[in-house]
Subunit: 90 residues, 2 copies
């Protein structure tokens, strides 16, 4: 069993109103020094060991991200056993 993390972010040229809302709220709440906030999605998948990288890439492209407006990264995270944030979720 392997854990896979997919992070999906709006492309640079795409407006990010959620991130901008957070960035605008920070000074009002007294937090200074944050010059940019971008908000995206974070997926944690638990997959069988025989699922290859190409399949993961297709899953990300097909279901998790919109290739027109979003960029994404896929990375494997080593997990020895069912220990946490994804494992107990089903």
């Amino acid at each position: 069993m392997a854990r896979v993390v997919v992070d999906v972010m709006p492309k640079q040229e795409i407006l990010d109103p959620q991130g901008q809302a957070v960035a605008g709220a920070l000074p009002r709440l007294g937090f200074e020094g944050v010059t940019s906030v971008r908000q995206g999605k974070h997926f944690e998948l638990e997959v069988d060991d025989d699922v290859d990288d190409e399949t993961l890439e297709r899953i990300a492209e097909t279901l998790l991200a919109n290739p027109v407006t979003e960029d994404w990264t896929v990375r494997r995270v080593t997990v020895e056993s069912a220990d946490g944030s994804v494992a107990g979720a089903v």
Copy 2:
């Protein structure tokens, strides 16, 4: 200038209908071997170097996550210069 990544996930005991929808769609689209999908949020912040970890933790807790229903992690990512996904966003 430092880049900070905050990942926010629903707590284990909280239902995650978005993740379950993705998990349910995968077999219908021909993707086998994914046993669990959890969906959360991924924030990329660009902050001044004098913003300390305690402030980042308070930002995450106050604005980015709901402590009642979500867990989060804060990590710094080293960036030499404005080179990418956060830097060009403002």
